[in-house]
């Protein structure tokens, strides 16, 4: 090749370099080898070819000269070093050797959680739904510990529900900071990212036990078997996703409760249950079975003046009274223009409602629930109450005349209880009484915290809310102990911003002066 052509040879290398960069960028963003990738490779090869053709002597020198000899040695050592480093890092990353230096072992999972993780039968993925407004530092630390101890069987990712709205809706996310744990087809929802809750959810995922819950039918109750108005099919679907077996039964047909039932739900009967049916339910409860009773105001049912043996049983055996009223809530009037929708805003610290703070629950046509008397051996909890601007209207005629007014001394006024949980310490039976059934039907289930309220209620009654008690951690409380002096802050600023930094400047100047004198 003529020597004047040789000076154009580096241009070939520049073209080739551009080709490499373009190919790398294409592969990085497209993630597949397609025609664009091919063009990038083509440009690279053309550039190299041009260099070889324009300056063949340089090529000969590169491959046979001193640089080639030293360069190939270095390249071989480099490949060997990278190989060794990759291998060591890979082997070490497979282990979870670490030392938690914090005094309270903040970064160490309880031994119970570690045991659960070591026995995971399948891969668990955790989707953490956190908006950018919520800090992920604590939960990220916790999930990282779970992932580290899972031997690769647990992975997690953060999803911003504001960005991935469709996914968040599909997963039924109603609260910022919700975790969805999935193992195969099964899923668990955790609204409080505490170690206790996450480990319990993992146990529920692993547990092959499929607790059976049954809806009573035969009295016009809401049923999961139909769709449309009054259906609780969505609730059934959610419960099945949580590994519950859901069915219905009619006591008049079967005469007994299915043998595998852990919970019976009486979801808004339109006609009263017979005394015989109530006796069967009472016997079931006496043997430790759990009940969820949802009864609407009499005016909204076909009870009329007929006696209600179920309400009588609840009052006599459990001390819980379904008041014969209908709640009129001015908050419902303000928010929805419907005073007959009771709005739950106050929640107890009970496990069912502890995570509902900040959410509202909506109960269309509700009656209040109270305790007649505290019965020995039974513990009670007012789960949800209305705000103060409500009353339980007992004068049904005034309702029919469309002129309800709170009557002092007759109607309950103020915060009214919408649901009450009770547990019998002897039989271990659990009961929840709701003065409403409409909140759990498909058309209301996604409103506010309704879904969480009913699902948490099912978990609690079936005793799935907390399957393990983790060893409690001692947390040292560290408080500021600064003398109450007006000089404290100035001294702090003086020391931090003046003495230390300017001390260094003075030292620098001193060194400079000493060196000059020498």
């Amino acid at each position: 090749m003529k020597s004047e052509w040789r000076r154009y040879a580096p241009l070939g290398l520049y073209v080739s370099l551009l080709g490499v960069l373009a190919t790398a960028a294409i592969f990085f963003f497209v993630q597949k080898i397609d025609w664009k990738f091919g063009i990038g490779v083509g440009i690279t090869l053309l550039g190299l070819l041009a260099y070889v053709v324009l300056d063949p002597q340089q090529i000969k020198k590169i491959f046979t000269g001193r640089q080639a000899r030293f360069g190939s040695n270095t390249l071989l050592i480099l490949i060997g070093l990278i190989g060794i480093l990759v291998l060591i890092n890979f082997l070490v990353s497979e282990t979870s050797i670490q030392w938690d230096l914090t005094a309270d072992k903040e970064n160490t999972l309880a031994k119970e959680s570690i045991e659960v993780l070591q026995n995971l039968p399948d891969t668990v993925t955790i989707q953490a739904f956190y908006t950018s407004r919520m800090s992920t530092e604590t939960v990220s630390n916790l999930l990282n510990q779970y992932a580290d101890k899972s031997q690769g069987k647990l992975e997690y990712n953060f999803i911003d529900p504001d960005v991935q709205l469709a996914l968040a809706q599909a997963e039924g996310i109603t609260q910022d900071g919700t975790l969805i744990l999935k193992m195969g087809e099964r899923r668990e929802k955790v609204t409080s990212a505490q170690e206790q809750d996450v480990t319990s959810a993992l146990i529920r995922l692993m547990n092959p036990d499929q607790p059976a819950i049954y809806f009573l039918s035969g009295h016009g109750e809401h049923t999961p078997e139909t769709t449309g108005n009054g259906s609780v099919a969505q609730l059934k679907s959610t419960a099945e996703q949580k590994n519950y077996k859901v069915g219905t039964f009619n006591l008049l047909e079967t005469g007994s409760i299915p043998a595998d039932a852990r919970l019976v739900i009486v979801a808004g009967p339109q006609k009263p249950l017979s005394q015989g049916e109530v006796d069967v339910l009472a016997a079931f409860s006496a043997q430790g079975g759990s009940l969820i009773v949802m009864e609407d105001p009499v005016l909204a049912t076909e009870f009329g003046d007929a006696p209600d043996p179920l309400a009588a049983y609840l009052s006599d055996t459990w001390g819980i009274v379904l008041t014969n009223d209908i709640i009129i809530d001015l908050v419902g009037q303000q928010l929805l223009g419907q005073p007959f929708v009771a709005v739950g805003v106050n929640y107890s610290t009970h496990q069912i409602t502890a995570d509902l703070t900040g959410l509202t629950t909506y109960f269309p046509n509700a009656r209040s629930v109270t305790t007649r008397a505290v019965i020995s051996g039974i513990t009670y909890d007012d789960l949800v109450t209305t705000a103060g601007q409500s009353w339980g209207e007992t004068d049904m005629d005034s309702l029919l005349a469309n002129s309800p007014e709170p009557n002092d001394g007759i109607d309950q006024v103020g915060q009214l209880s919408l649901a009450m949980a009770a547990e019998n310490s002897t039989s271990q039976a659990r009961l929840i009484v709701f003065g409403n059934s409409g909140f759990a039907v498909d058309s209301s289930l996604s409103a506010g915290g309704n879904l969480d309220l009913i699902v948490n209620s099912i978990d609690w009654t079936v005793k799935q809310e907390e399957l393990i008690n983790l060893t409690e951690k001692v947390v040292t409380e560290r408080v500021l102990n600064v003398p109450a002096s007006r000089y404290t802050v100035p001294v702090l600023f003086l020391g931090s911003l003046c003495i230390l930094p300017f001390g260094i400047v003075v030292a620098g100047i001193a060194v400079l002066i000493i060196r000059r004198r020498r």
Binding site: F28, F29, Q31, R66, Q67, F70, G71, T74, I77, L78, L81, I82, L85, I88, N89, V92, S93, T95, S96, I97, Q98, W99, D100, L101, T102, A103, D104, E106, N107, N141, N144, D148, T476, E477, R478, V479, L480, N481, V482, T488, V489, L492, F493, G495, S496, L497, L500, P501, F502, I504, V505, A507, G508, V511, L512, R515
Partner: protein, 246 residues
């Protein structure tokens, strides 16, 4: 070993002779002091309502960002200055191996950074006097170990880049670019999948530092920083050697 130690000592002394070390140390302490005093001011003003003491990590956290800018300034002159002043040829003909030269330069810079970090230890100690029953020193120890390892790998990058240039400013900006790329590598993970995602996640130096920050010493993170240091020191040695082949 003696050669490495001789070079490291000379390098360490040079830091205290040149004004750069004092400027770097001054800015380091000033920014950290500002963070410390503002956080303490906020906590003291809220003491009546919430007496909970601020965690000692408040000292560690800003230092990570300060290191990003100070380390390229510390390393920019290490080898670049030898090339600019023409003493590099002298060093290359001296009975010193290339790797000894690079390791000595890195060790000198590392000792300087370690001295600077030691100086910042005054903040956790002051905080300890203001907290009852004292601060948790576990996260402080782990945090400082993490800072030393982070500094070690960033210094190796800086020394390597310094071997590429005779111009200190170029060395500063290229070092900053490389460190910043490792710093932000996980920001690109949402664009890629599979191997590239794993690689970018792995290369993210902040992810590896977080466990130290929380008070945990994880073996995999220690090994990561040591590996990064070894790799870039090797690159640095190769670049010095390259001068002989030319």
């Amino acid at each position: 070993m003696r050669n490495i130690w001789t070079i490291a000592r000379r390098e360490y002394k040079l830091f205290f002779i040149s004004p750069i070390a004092y400027v770097v140390a001054f800015l380091f302490m000033l920014v950290l002091g500002l963070f410390f005093s503002l956080t303490m001011y906020g906590s003291i003003s809220q003491m009546a309502y919430s007496p909970t003491a601020p965690s000692p990590q408040m000292v560690i956290s800003p230092m990570v960002t300060i290191l990003l800018f100070t380390i390229p300034a510390v390393t920019m002159r290490t080898i670049a200055e030898e090339q600019r002043s023409g003493t590099m040829e002298l060093l290359l003909t001296a009975p010193v191996r290339d790797w000894e030269l690079v390791l000595g330069k890195w060790l000198g810079s590392f000792l300087f950074m370690a001295s600077l970090l030691l100086l910042t230890g005054v903040f956790p100690l002051v905080l300890n006097f203001m907290v009852k029953p004292g601060i948790d020193f576990g996260p402080v120890i782990a945090g400082y170990l993490g800072l030393l390892l982070l500094s070690s790998s960033m210094l190796a990058i800086g020394v390597m880049v310094s071997a590429l240039f005779a111009n200190q400013i170029a060395a500063f900006f290229i070092s900053l670019g490389v460190v910043l790329a490792l710093w932000l590598s996980n920001q690109f993970t949402s664009y890629v999948q599979g191997f590239w995602k794993t690689l970018l996640d792995f290369l993210d130096i902040i992810t590896h530092f977080v466990s130290f920050y929380r008070g945990t010493i994880a073996l995999k993170d220690v090994v990561f920083f040591i590996s990064l240091t070894a790799l870039f020191l090797f690159f640095g040695t190769a670049l010095v050697e390259w001068r002989r082949w030319r």
